[in-house]
Amino acid sequence: MKPSVLSGAKPNAVIGGLLVGGLLVVVLLGYVWTPYDPIAIDLAHPLAPPSWTHWFGSDEFGRDVLSRAMLGARISVTIALGVVAAAVIAGTLIGAIAGFLRGWVDRVIMSVNDAILAFPGMLLALALIAVLGSNRGSIILALSVAYLPSIVRVVRGAVLSIREREYVEASKVVGDGALYTMVRHVLPNALPPVVVLATSLFGWVVLSESALSFLGVGVPPPAPTWGNMLSAARPYMENASWLSVTPGVCIALTLLGVNLLGDALRDRLDPRRDA
């Protein structure tokens, strides 16, 4: 077996793509159909192990685990997309301004950025949620603020290094204005690291949102999130282990798919390919 096959660029994309694609299919499907109503209580069949009627079993209220997991997928994905969109848009604007203008604007932005970074993300999100309340909107806002500094840092770094490239200087030499250069030359070349970061960010947000739900400060019940499903499964760990396994596997597969896709993207966008 020759080494070159094992470099793994293709398998990453395939597996990652399959997993993420599968996730999206499940989410979209969930809008139109789930095996059971996720919040319908069925006290006749509590804690049923996986069978043909309940593929992943049922919880202590008789609710179908699979249906709840599907709804949970939708919640996690919508929150994650919201956070990624907000953080990337805001972060790119702020980072680009800081990197391009430099001077005191840059220093002020970076001081605020570092201050936000000084708080552990989880605590910052928790504190913001405590002030804003526990609903989808405030969770998105809290997580966006928590992850904003990383994007600002990456965009600023990319802009700073691209500014020094000779083709940016060349643009000045032919008489282009600063804004034109920024939009046509600097930003397009600064995007690849942001795209890679955005895919990783999606995964981190799913993880964070699940952790917040697990702690009891996520989207409130009766909405099922993977995090609060795991939390509710704790008393039944020994007897009904399927309740603990299913949500965890969902989170893990999502993260795995997103990470693999992100790796494949990074390989493809790696500037070293050009030389």
């Binding site: 000084a118 552990p120 989880m122 928790l126 405590a130 603990s244 396994v245 993260l255 693999l260």
Partner: protein
């Protein structure tokens, strides 16, 4: 070198100032009389008036801020609404436990990451490399609280080797305390080793490409010497930065581990105080964790020259 240290120290000051401002204002954001907020229902008229005097609520905001900072520097962070204990004492107690778990786990994860990352980079694109990268990717995808639950299920419930619930402080019995900590530390070690291994491997790959590595081989040095003396110091620097970031991040993220294993740590304190609207504790925790994070990264920055002497020159 001295100027490097001084410069790093000075750079932390604006950040600390911003942090203090943010924490101060966060609590003021909550609607209502700050003294009432801080005392909760437990306040009677006398203690409310005393606290108002203490916080200087009749004075302009900047003075209030300075008063608050002055209190904090003296170690007075107020008292918990729920338990009436001094916040600083509460935080310090909880922090010791959290610190043990975090430091031991991250150290172990770093050692694993260095060995696995170097080995994978050295034998790039071989089955060994694939295995390491695959394992790291898998580990990265597994949520720490889920892993903790599974380990608890297997080792605690099914096998009964380790205790499941609760905690015994070291002061009572060191051996028992250690047993309670094995699973949380193991969980955290596994989780963090994923991202550290990937970072170590990627920077080792970059370094292995450089000429001084070929030069070292051209001198006839053994592969082991080349890896340990020439590759490791240069490849470790970015991983060290990551370790600093992780240590800071874990001060918050540890809350989920502490919940799974019911450990009375700092993360759990933070969550409980937020859920219980115990604002003095919330404020104290935020300030404390942010200061620790800044301090940890400062230490990392100061260690950096050991691995990359070039930073002192710029």
């Amino acid at each position: 070198m001295l100027s490097y240290i001084l410069k790093r120290l000075l750079l932390t000051l604006p950040t600390l100032l911003m942090v203090a401002l943010a924490v101060f204002f966060l609590i003021r954001l909550i609607p209502g009389d700050p003294a009432l907020v801080m005392l909760g229902d437990a306040g009677d008229a006398a203690s409310l008036a005393a606290l108002r005097q203490d916080l200087g609520l009749d004075q302009p905001l900047p003075v209030q801020f300075l008063l608050w900072v002055e209190h904090a520097l003296r170690g007075d962070l107020g008292h918990s609404i729920l338990t009436s204990e001094p916040v600083s004492v509460l935080i310090w107690q909880r922090f010791q436990l959290t610190a043990i778990v975090v430091v031991v786990a991250v150290s172990a994860a770093t050692v694993i990451a260095v060995i696995a990352g170097l080995a994978a980079a050295w034998r790039r694109d071989t089955p060994l490399d694939l295995a390491v990268v695959g394992a790291a990717s898998l580990v990265l995808a597994v949520p720490s609280f889920w892993l903790g639950l599974i380990l608890l299920l297997v080792f605690g419930l099914k096998l009964g080797w380790l205790p499941v619930v609760g905690y015994v402080p070291f002061s009572e019995s060191a051996v028992e305390a250690a047993l309670f900590l094995v699973l949380p530390i193991l969980t955290l070690t596994i989780t963090e080793s994923g991202v550290l291994t990937r970072m170590m491997r990627s920077s080792a790959i970059d370094v292995l490409r450089l000429e001084y590595v070929t030069h070292a081989r051209a001198k006839g040095l053994s592969e082991f010497t080349v890896l340990s003396r020439h590759v490791f110091p240069n490849a470790f620097a970015p991983t060290l930065t990551l370790v600093g970031l992780i240590l800071g991040h874990l001060l918050g993220g540890i809350a989920v581990i502490e919940t799974v294993f019911t450990l009375p740590g700092l993360g759990r304190l933070m969550v409980d105080s937020i859920l219980g609207r115990d604002y003095p504790v919330v404020q104290g925790c935020l300030l404390f964790t942010a200061v620790v994070y800044v301090a940890v990264n400062l230490v990392v920055d100061l260690c950096y020259p050991l691995f990359d002497p070039r930073v002192t020159a710029q």
